[in-house]
Amino acid sequence: MERVFKALADGTRRRILDRLFDTDSLSLGELCSGLEMSRQAVSKHLGILETAGLVVAVRRGREKRHFLNPVPIQQIGDRWIAKYARKQARAITALKGALEEGSHDAS
């Protein structure tokens, strides 16, 4: 679980996860085109996300596609939220989302 928190502690990596959340799966080339950094740097971030289990890379034909794997994030929720008030917590995040009109976390 520590690897998940370390992977999530970086803004670029959160942006990569946002892109994968919006588009199902992306190749390294597709990911690079939306980020202003070298292919090597994006590849390094992807490696950290893969080690943490947040990204799964799967070969599809000739290319490698990267998918967001939501299970480690679910496990964080299950560990500290599920037992108490998942519905209430969800209502509050939905309210926050509505008030902020879906703006992505930039901090």
């Binding site: 199902d24 799966s25 998918f67 939501p70 299970v71 679910q74 496990q75 299950d78 560990r79």
Partner: protein, 155 residues
Amino acid sequence: MHPEHIYQTYIRTTPQRLWEAITSPEFTRQYFHCMHIDCDWQPGSEVKFRYDDGRVGCEGTLLDCVPPRLLRYTWRFLFDEELARERPSTVTFEIEPSGENCRLRVTHNDFDADSKVFPMISEGWSEVISSLKSLLETGAALEVAGNTEASRGAA
């Protein structure tokens, strides 16, 4: 590109036990929204997920069954009339031993581009897989997936 979801986790268990968890009704009802799986495990046969009262929540056709490595079936969601009319999608379970753990990868794909089921299922699968992991590692499924006893997920 057709819509596709992949879920992956490592579970401290053996391939045989994990296979049993995804194919035996006593196991699935503990972590799969109280539904038990019903199939004779012959490719081409029907797969049904039933509640205790006999109602069927999901159904499909068994495509591949290679114990304890690969299970693939088509998937039709019956909870809602409109969703039930959609063409069935495909769910694949792949089990890969990894040291003292097993890697479980669940792929759900073969959706039409405008599928209404696709955006609905993501959270459901995450809950089910997290609960399955908890059941195999601690002996208790999670409350969110229908079990009464909450348990703490292993780190």
